[in-house]
């Protein structure tokens, strides 16, 4: 399908399916806005936060962590060999944040009041920091993307202005997500005595931001492989392999700090008390932290596409698993009652993630996001001296 002479969007059966999911979700969302949360969700006083906050928001934002970790590596440390993935990471991150904002908007009961925190400052709330940082960071990402947008849609003056603003925006684009990725963890500090002690810690902000950061390279690997497969391109294997060093190093630190924290708080033994929580915690740590660490540290695994991909999928799944444990497993004992999302909650979630895929496809097919193919092949190709701010 073409719109005008510059825009195109290929229609495949799979994409039609995704579009149907999006339409169903849109209809369900409309119903929710008219009839309220009780009509479409299984949320209750015991479970005020469910799938949309736990999965779409917390995981969506965490998975978008590729944006800020790549920005730090490429634009602050100027590791130019990673430039080919920089724009794709920015794009995924931007779409991830849009999904998170949409799900937040769906989830708040008095949605017409969504702008209130800009004016009535509850600065003593962690959520206040999260709200401001996410809003500002989404704006920053839109502006960063504007730089790419105006490469296609020619508008020299705007592009020039954005060029000047790029350095502060890049810095903000790392500081803001660092703050709110950690704050998403700090949200659960209020749950002292209620969130299971294996997860509750004053260090939870550190665990959240650190895991969002090391998730970044893994996410880039997974998404890069998917994109390469979808578009029949060569996966950027040398970049994926090289990125494993970042993830590996950070995951080892994560594991050490986690253990030290448990020992310091005297709750290490709770990991082995056989309860549901302890088993979930052990799965989280062994399958999703220790196994990827081992896989990443073995050269013969890390240099193969299947190896690096499997380990990266484990890392991505592990961060989702961790967030789910904090929101659901860890809180279940204290909150009582039970919660399982309704079909509508699932459909809206599926629709949002389908929308993400469609947006990604549309943007990479119309904007210069992925590297030109001939660059992707040659390993010794110079990408110039670097990204110009």
């Amino acid at each position: 399908m073409r719109f005008g002479k510059n825009w195109k969007f290929k229609i495949t059966p799979f994409r039609i399916l995704l579009i149907i999911f999006v339409l169903i979700a849109a209809a369900a969302a409309l119903y929710r806005f008219v009839y309220g949360l009780g009509a479409v969700t299984n949320l209750s006083d015991e479970w005020p936060w469910g799938l949309w906050i736990g999965f779409d928001l917390l995981c969506g934002i965490a998975l978008a962590g590729g944006g800020f970790s790549t920005a730090l590596i490429v634009h602050v440390l100027h590791k130019d060999k990673y430039l080919p993935i920089a724009r794709a990471a920015l794009l995924t991150s931007l779409i991830g944040y849009i999904i998170a904002m949409v799900s937040l908007f769906l989830d708040i009961g008095r949605w017409f009041n969504f702008w209130r925190p800009f004016f009535y400052w509850g600065y003593h709330s962690v959520l206040f920091e999260v709200f401001w940082c996410i809003s500002l960071y989404t704006t920053v990402q839109v502006l960063e993307f504007g730089d790419i947008f105006f490469e296609k849609v020619k508008c020299a003056p705007l592009k020039k202005i954005l060029g000047y603003a790029m350095t502060p925006m890049l810095i903000l684009g790392i500081v803001l997500p660092s703050l709110h990725q950690s704050s998403l963890g700090s949200l659960y500090i209020v749950a002292v005595d209620r969130l299971y002690p294996l997860w509750w810690s004053m260090l939870i902000p550190f665990f959240f931001v650190w895991s969002a950061f090391f998730l970044g390279p893994a996410m880039v690997t997974v998404e890069g492989t998917l994109a390469a497969r979808a578009y029949k391109r060569e996966p950027e294997m040398h970049i994926f392999e090289s990125l494993t060093k970042v993830t590996l190093f950070m995951m080892i630190i994560y594991l050490i700090v986690k253990i030290v924290d448990l020992v310091y708080r005297g709750v290490l033994s709770m990991a082995f008390n056989g309860s549901f929580e302890s088993n979930m915690f052990l799965i989280e740590m062994i399958v999703f932290v220790i196994v990827p660490i081992i896989m990443y540290s073995i050269t013969s695994i890390r240099t193969k596409l299947w190896g690096v991909l499997t380990a990266s999928i484990l890392v991505v799944a592990g961060v989702i698993f961790n967030r789910m444990n904090v929101v659901f497993t860890g809180m279940a004992g204290a909150m009582g009652g039970h919660y399982f999302p309704t079909i509508w909650e699932w459909l809206i979630t599926i629709g949002m993630w389908s929308g993400l895929v469609l947006m990604y496809c549309f943007v990479v097919e119309n904007f210069p996001i992925l590297p030109k193919e001939e660059h992707a092949h040659g390993s010794g190709v110079s990408y110039g001296a670097g990204f110009h701010a």
């Binding site: 009961g109 962690v126 990479v364 030109k372």
Partner: protein
Amino acid sequence: MSKGVLVDITRCIACRSCMVSCKSWNDLPSNPSTFSNNWDSPGKIDSNNWTVVTNHIIEEGDQIKWRFVKKQCMHCLEPACESACFTHAFVKTKEGAVIYKPTELNQDYCVGCRYCMIACPFGVPSFQWEKAFPYVQKCRFCYDRMKEEGMEPACVTSCPTGALKYGDREELLAEARTRIEQIPGYVNHIYGEKEYGGTSWIYISDVPFEKLGFRTNVSEKSIPSYTWDVLKWTPLIFFGWGAILTAMRAYTKRRAEVHNEAEMYAPVDDE
């Protein structure tokens, strides 16, 4: 002086007058109730039941004790809900009531995010799930009565056994201590004196609190102070981390930069 209520669990007979008077003063709709195993229907607080009396059957050897606990907002001295709200929709008044501004003061700031419900250690704030534009609901310590007429809350007025006593919190604490010392049988614990930094509603009992559905051995530090321990670092991280990043970016930047990005990337041609 900040007001409070002393709940003496030994004196409660589960007549539920407090529940009825709460509903009538606050004009809350009645819900059809169902029988439950221990007869304490509805058993938990919700948006139409701001106070409930829960029943507890406690077996001690061959003796069976039946105890009844009135539950409502504890009106924390440093409320978690107030600190958790990012539009400051809750406020602790100087009289001691923790009130929700949208319904109490007609200041409709509430976004409906329900973080207050996550934050409250007593699981008090409830949501009007069935409404299209729901409010958060909870006991407001009959703030209207307290503020304008100096009257005690409706539930206290209607309590026939003196299980509820309204007054200055400090005096009530002293009275609670006197009762514990002078009348045999009380557990030596005033629930709410120190829990989460203290609450305006305090309880004394002759049965250990953990058997009555109270969470004991909890933090004596208030939840807002936990949060603040983390949040106070925000400006430092913002500027410090920003400065570090700027410095690193300047340091690693090469001198001769060639802007060739436009040639590096291209739209995917998938046709």
